[in-house]
């Protein structure tokens, strides 16, 4: 399969990429690793007139700590993230989820910025991103702005990313040191995409009560979501089989279940609760 014709230009800086977007009359599309965009172009689901390649921009690379957040450059590949010592130590759920994306060839090319900016409903990263209260650093016409990942994705491949702008980095809040975390997914075996993916970050205080809990869910519908109802139900409780089981029943409250060839909405709702319960038990029991 061969994409429709397009012009190609390589940007050397973010400013230049934005300028090229402005000049492209809506025909421009940013490409980083190309592992979400190029497959769509090959299927001719999308036919951008101009590809602006940002993959060589040095300022978009690297992982660093800033205050209580880890800043991951937009061009960081899934493999770099999965194997990065800072990520493995301080946000292991993120490194773990990154290590479960596609396969090694895909993780060598796909980038975190591309993954989130693309807004694919079956991407893995939105789950840990929601659980770690991720924020996107965005540079555009009007300068820099910060957007929460929660609410950024509006629908399949539709996001709040303003026109003529580039995601430059994604930051993740480092959870309290007494918390543990996991990313658990039930995936479609041919594609590797999650039918449901649940990220949990949670911890208990010295008296044995849950004092921190974040749950991010992806794959089940058109939009990944934070399972706030589950979090509210668990906060202040003692973690037991029963409290976890009844909280997990609320896992579908904050999202909408999708239905497709692989799984009906009813099936997804069930498996969403089952995987939420399993992930919570892994972390809390």
């Amino acid at each position: 399969m061969i994409p429709a014709k397009f012009d190609y230009v390589r940007a050397d800086s973010v400013d230049q990429a934005i300028q090229l977007l402005q000049q492209s009359d809506g025909e421009g599309k940013i490409m980083a690793g190309g592992h979400s965009l190029l497959p769509l172009m090959k299927f001719r689901v999308t036919e951008p007139g101009k590809i602006i390649d940002i993959s060589r921009i040095a300022e978009l690379k690297g992982v660093r700590i800033e205050g209580n957040r880890i800043i991951v450059g937009a061009l960081t590949t899934h493999h770099e993230l999965a194997t990065h010592p800072i990520a493995q130590e301080l946000v292991p759920v993120l490194a773990d989820a990154a290590s479960q994306i596609g396969d090694i060839q895909i993780r060598n090319r796909g980038t975190i910025g591309g993954n989130i900016a693309h807004g694919d409903p079956v991407a893995d990263l939105p789950a840990p991103a929601l659980a770690l209260e991720a924020e996107l650093q965005i540079q555009g016409d009007e300068g820099q702005e910060v957007m929460s990942v929660d609410g950024f994705i509006l629908g399949p491949l539709i996001t709040l990313l303003p026109e003529n702008s580039v995601v430059t980095s994604v930051s993740f809040k480092i959870p309290p040191s007494h918390t543990k975390s996991t990313y658990l997914k039930f995936f479609h075996h041919a594609s590797g995409y999650p039918v449901v993916g649940v990220a949990v970050v949670a911890g208990v205080d010295k008296k044995g009560f849950i004092d921190f809990v974040r749950v991010g869910i992806t794959g089940v519908g058109e939009v990944s979501y934070r399972a706030s109802s589950v979090e509210k139900q668990l906060l202040g409780q003692r973690p037991t089989e029963t409290t976890i089981q009844s909280a997990a029943e609320l896992a579908i409250e904050d999202g909408e279940m999708g239905s497709d060839l692989f799984a009906s909405a009813e099936y997804r709702a069930n498996i969403c609760k089952v995987y939420t319960a399993r992930a919570l038990k892994t972390v809390l029991l």
Partner: protein
């Protein structure tokens, strides 16, 4: 306004190659049709099967899901760059001796993926090999003979390294 061709300069199997290509040219098409290196196969064409796997600056990638121009400035190794008939690469030796293939369609991609694995992990366990094979699909062997072939290759490579160390000392 017509589409401008773009220039691509790459080192493929140690040899410098330069060309003007259409921006939409996929890397796998450039390798096969532009350079005549037909060893890299096209299987699913949707970045699932891994038949098109090549090494790009020592990392395994799927060349059906890359534009040729994205590879500009990199070093690429295809199956043709691994060894020669007279002097097989240990991975090729391993696949031969352990019968790591039947129809052979996936084999170039699998071998290149496994060379990338062995560069990162020269002595992988069975499980690590199987995890490393996640990005390639073989519909003949059931994978067991591939795992054997990779282990055989790892052993040959370790022996070769010992020989080199002995010569150096």
């Amino acid at each position: 306004m017509g589409i401008q061709d773009v220039s691509v300069g790459v080192i493929v199997n140690g040899k410098e190659r330069c060309a003007e290509v259409e921006p939409r040219t996929l890397l796998v098409h450039y390798l096969r049709d532009g350079l005549g290196l037909k060893g890299t196969h096209i299987g699913c064409d949707t970045s699932q099967c891994g038949a098109c796997t090549v090494m790009l600056d020592e990392a395994a990638v799927k060349s059906c899901t890359m534009l040729a121009v994205q590879a500009d400035g990199t070093e690429i190794t295809t199956v043709e760059g691994l060894g020669t008939i007279k002097n097989l690469h240990p991975i090729q030796q391993g696949f031969w001796e352990e019968h790591g293939l039947q129809c052979g369609y996936c084999t170039p991609g699998v071998m290149v993926a496994m060379v990338a694995l062995l560069k990162e992990n020269p002595n992988p366990t069975d499980e690590e090999i199987r995890i490393g094979l996640e990005g390639v699909i073989c519909r003949c062997t059931g994978y067991q003979f591939i795992v054997n072939a990779v282990k055989h290759a790892a052993k040959l490579m370790a022996e070769q390294n010992i020989e080199i160390e002995e010569v150096l000392s």
